[in-house]
């Protein structure tokens, strides 16, 4: 067991820190959350800067430990988050890299890495959430095209995306996992209607998408027809790897700021509040160690994230909600003021036990796949 980094890893960290110190002051001002075109340009611009400096592919070709260092340092330096590039860099891109043909990789990967194109995700449907494989969006073959009809939901960045990684049903008669295909749908195709959905935090973070006879070339299918479920699982296991590194670093910083605020406003004198923050410190310190443990495990198994991902997500999503509940305790009545720090974060954190697999589904995964309990109902 060793928690020290190799000289090469330390060198990577030092070089990255130097670059961040120079690069971050050159960033344009952050766009407002409602300015979607502005957000798109800002996020793509950041990816372009990373690409030009040689960090564009860090999510893909770097070792898990290098990726951990990258995410840790960028977060500590206050660098932008992947934002609109999230699906391209962390979902669709890795899927195409793993399952696409040489031609498909050549077409789609360079624009993702250069910060030219935005991807969104068309997986969930109004009647297919936790039970994703029950999806009903239908793709009918017509010559060298699929004709797609149906609706998708919770699609982030749909308004400004160039491409959508879309799961469709290509064989309605097959068992539900065996009739699904993975398509890259151009977002400017006729027949796509995007309707933004307002979250409980008041922002339009995701959208509903209605597809009416949208024509998608058969050449845009990644993987075999009806093999889309397996293709998708490659993406999902990728997401549960190092996906939360930056967020744990951010939570630890927020917790320190919270302690400083508590001392300033006098709440620190309450031992119950102090101990609550102390316990949260233990929680996030442990989550950081668990991240290092999972990353080392992925390093050992050749980059494949282990089952630790579900364990981590369950604990982390709960801890993050606890953190902002504690923040409300520190703020007192001020916690009802949306202009105070942490108040919007508290609202956003309510999605953590739901998005990317609810805590209940994660517990099913842990029980069945890790503990080997019989399949439940």
């Amino acid at each position: 067991m060793d928690l020290t980094y190799t000289p090469e890893e330390e060198e990577f960290r030092a070089r990255l820190r130097d670059w961040l110190a120079k690069a971050l002051p050159t960033l344009p001002p952050k766009p407002s959350p409602d300015d979607w075109p502005g957000r798109r340009a800002y996020d793509l611009g950041w990816q372009r800067m990373l690409h030009d400096a040689g960090y564009g592919e860090v999510h893909w070709d770097a070792s898990p430990t290098t990726r951990l260092i990258f995410l840790e340092e960028t977060e500590k330096a206050g660098a932008p988050y992947v934002g609109a590039c999230f699906v391209g860099l962390l979902h669709a891109g890795p899927t195409i890299a793993a399952e696409g043909t040489a031609e498909q990789r050549e077409r789609w990967l360079p624009p993702i890495l250069r910060g030219d194109e935005v991807w969104c995700q068309g997986f969930s449907e109004p009647d297919a959430g936790s039970d994703l494989a029950a999806l009903r969006t239908r793709a009918r073959r017509d010559g060298d095209h699929y004709v797609v009809t149906g609706s998708k939901i919770w699609t982030s960045h749909a308004e400004v995306a160039d491409w959508c990684e879309l799961l469709v049903r290509t064989d309605p008669d097959a068992p539900k996992h065996r009739g699904i295909s993975w398509l890259a749908m151009p977002m400017d195709a006729p027949g796509i209607t995007v309707r933004p959905l307002k979250t409980l935090a008041g922002s339009a973070e995701f959208a509903e998408m209605f597809l009416d006879e949208v024509r998608v070339p058969v050449a845009n299918r990644v993987g075999d027809e009806n093999d889309g479920w397996r293709v998708t699982m490659v993406t999902l296991s990728f997401e549960r790897g190092t996906a939360f590194v930056g967020e744990v670093v951010a939570c630890r910083r927020a917790l320190r700021e919270l302690a400083v605020e508590a001392r300033r406003n006098g709440r620190w004198d309450d031992p119950a509040l102090r101990r609550r923050l102390g316990r949260l410190n233990a929680e996030f310190r442990a989550l950081w160690r668990l991240t290092q443990w999972n990353v080392s495990e992925a390093e050992q198994t050749g980059g494949v994230p282990g089952v630790g991902g579900s364990v981590f997500k369950l604990r982390y999503s709960h801890a993050r909600q606890e953190l902002y509940d504690a923040a409300a305790d520190v703020l007192g009545p001020q916690s009802l003021d949306l202009d105070r720090p942490w108040v919007l974060d508290r609202l956003s954190s309510l999605s953590y036990t739901i998005a990317a697999g609810t805590s209940q589904i994660q517990r099913n995964i842990v029980a069945e796949r890790i503990l080997g309990l019989p399949k439940g109902r």
Partner: protein, 293 residues
């Protein structure tokens, strides 16, 4: 960074588990409960001969010359097996108290207002020893306890090794619950097929594996904040793990015969061995205001 067990560490853990399964299996555990309060001195010497107490003592001084991570793995196994006796105090006395390293001498220590195994120990460490000690009727049949008027600070290594025992106990409780949930049938199917039971087991694993990362990291860094973290997470994993394991076993869980109550009671004893949890919480709260390293 290679934060995983090395091959040697995997082998060490397997070796300790094999020895404890052979020397302190279910039969021995039951016998120890029957003869509550008696310490098996032969087993103690065997532990000494195997290097359990001298694990971290330098080879030049007759020890095994290993580090905290290895000690943590050994104590995790002890916790898993419910091995009785003042293991932590004797381990800490190796090299300082003659005979402790070899298991010839049983050493206990004055802790947080309590002394474990006082009547059986050859040596009591701590200021004032056990003056004024009064026996109490211990909730744990495998840990005789005396109350002492003054408490003593507990060394941080003792806190960490206790956390390691808690981790082993939590791991075992989760395994027992899963075994039972797979085998026990009600309503025509294993109870482990019901999500209500599955989710109890899943949460046990989540608590155990998070605590494991914290305990192992503290063993590597020996950092005070890491040790406080390990302690809080391991206490939670052990106490709540035993409670949930008991629940999964239903009526069987409430019997004297089934071992889960021993895990719960020992976990309670360990939470008090190393001082109040609020102290660890206060330490970690203060750390938030310290300059980040």
């Amino acid at each position: 960074m290679r934060f995983q067990l090395t091959e040697d560490q995997v082998a060490l853990r397997a070796g300790v588990r094999e020895m404890l399964t052979r020397r302190f299996g279910p039969q021995a555990l039951r016998a120890a409960v029957e003869e509550s309060g008696r310490l098996d001195r032969a087993l103690w010497r065997e532990l000494g001969a195997a290097g359990f107490f001298a694990l971290r003592l330098p080879e030049a001084r007759g020890g095994v010359g290993l580090g905290l991570p290895e000690a943590v793995l050994a104590f995790e196994e002890a916790g898993r097996a419910l091995l009785p006796g003042p293991l932590v105090a004797t381990h800490l006395a190796a090299g300082a108290v003659p005979g402790a390293a070899t298991g010839e001498t049983v050493v206990t220590a004055v802790g947080n207002g309590l002394v474990e195994w006082l009547a059986q120990a050859d040596v009591v460490r701590g200021d004032g020893g056990a003056a004024g000690a009064v026996p109490l009727r211990s909730v744990d049949p495998l840990t005789p306890l005396h109350r002492v008027p003054t408490g003593m600070g507990v060394p941080s290594v003792a806190v960490l090794l206790t956390a390691a025992e808690q981790l082993g106990s939590a791991t075992r409780a989760c395994e027992l619950a899963v075994q039972h949930a797979r085998a026990r049938e009600q309503f025509g199917r294993p109870i482990g097929a019901f999500q209500a039971v599955q989710h109890l087991c899943a949460e046990m694993l989540v608590r155990t594996e998070t605590a494991r990362a914290a305990v192992y990291a503290a063993a590597v860094t020996a950092d005070p904040a890491d040790i406080d973290t390990a302690r809080l997470l391991a206490d939670e994993a052990a106490v709540r793990g035993a409670r949930d394991c008991l629940q999964v076993h239903g009526g069987m869980g409430f019997t004297w015969e089934f071992e889960v109550h021993l895990h719960l009671k020992r976990a309670w004893v360990r939470t008090h061995r190393v001082g109040p949890a609020t102290e660890s919480e206060e330490n970690l709260a203060a750390e938030l205001l310290a300059d980040p390293a």
